[in-house]
């Protein structure tokens, strides 16, 4: 329904703005309805203004800046409408160390109340995880799992 969409849009927009500022340690971002008078048929524009820089099209952002902006929108959606668990495969690949730290801040905060499964090559992500599942191929071509650390399973 129209009301429900507008309500969800407002919530996601609010979360996105907050997360962007946290992930970029400044700057501001926004979501806009391209056709505000036809919300149920309108496309959505993403506006990103990095700290100190001029607002430009997303295309001109760097690889790492785009990844961090996408992470902001992703977690905004996850916070507003969580899924029983989420599965994120190497979404940190383009982040430098400083941006990685801020991403991990958002990830750990979200994981306090939601189950998250991340696949990652980054040591800092491994350190932040409550459960660590190692995958190996002791025999070539055959995968095995080693539970390196297992957090208690939550209730409910």
């Amino acid at each position: 329904s129209r009301a429900r969409f507008l309500e969800t849009f407002a919530e996601v927009r609010r979360e996105f703005r907050g997360l962007f500022e946290q992930l970029f340690d400044g700057g501001k971002a926004d979501l806009e309805l391209l056709e505000p008078d036809q919300p149920l048929a309108s496309g959505i524009e993403i506006i990103a203004h990095l700290p100190g820089k001029k607002t430009q099209s997303l295309a001109l952002l760097s690889g790492g800046e785009r990844a961090l902006t996408a992470i902001g929108l992703l977690f905004a959606l996850l916070k507003v409408r969580p899924s029983p668990f989420c599965l994120l495969d190497e979404i940190d690949a383009a982040l430098d160390e400083a941006n990685l730290d801020r991403y991990i801040g958002v990830l750990v905060d979200y994981a306090r109340s939601h189950q998250v499964i991340v696949i990652s090559h980054r040591p800092k992500v491994m350190e932040a995880a409550e459960s660590l599942l190692g995958i190996t191929m002791a025999e070539k071509g055959v995968s095995q799992v080693i539970s390196l650390r297992l957090a208690a399973q939550q209730e409910g």
Binding site: A67, I119, I135
Partner: protein, 165 residues
């Protein structure tokens, strides 16, 4: 509701029966290139009813069955079982635990089950409607897929919000 464990046998590089336990909060899956991490992501997507062969990186659905190595022969079927804690009754079933199973034989024959009771693929799809696992494409982000959240055209982005609404 959350994911308790995943059991696989014959699924891609998981030739041997493997049980993976997940905990609350943040779980990190780690290991070298090619060891099978994304294959686990594929298994989860597959057992939840993924029908797009391309999104599982194959050209035929049969490609998910262990193809063998230079030391082991191919296997005859792939089977994945996903067990969720349902104490909150987010899933419309009167059980504290719900296990969804999918099995595919090389013949092309498929079997599906919910808590050991045979069912059809569409029963699995319907089970997850309204949970955010079937319709929330933002809940399962595949390798290399993060950028598409931004590069999608304005109407595709709008679909993400429809899923959340």
């Amino acid at each position: 509701m959350h994911l308790k464990r995943l059991e696989l046998v014959g699924f891609k590089s998981f030739a041997q029966r493997t049980r993976i336990e997940f905990g609350a909060g943040l779980n990190a899956v780690v290991g070298p290139n090619g060891c099978g991490k994304s294959n686990i992501a594929d298994a989860i997507r597959w057992v939840l009813g993924e029908q797009s062969v391309r999104s599982l990186r194959g050209s035929r659905m049969e490609d998910v069955i262990f193809a063998g190595t230079d030391k082991r022969p191919p296997l005859g079927y792939a089977e994945v079982a996903l067990t969720l804690d349902n104490s909150s009754e987010a899933l419309p079933l009167p059980y504290k635990e719900v296990t969804v199973t999918r099995k595919l034989f090389r013949s092309g024959e498929s079997q599906f089950a919910i808590n050991q009771t045979g069912c059809r693929l569409r029963d699995i799809h319907e089970l997850f409607i309204d949970t955010g696992l079937s319709k929330a494409s933002y809940a399962l982000i595949g390798q290399g897929q993060l950028d598409s959240i931004l590069s999608a055209n304005p109407m595709d982005r709008r679909m993400l919000l429809d899923e959340a609404a």
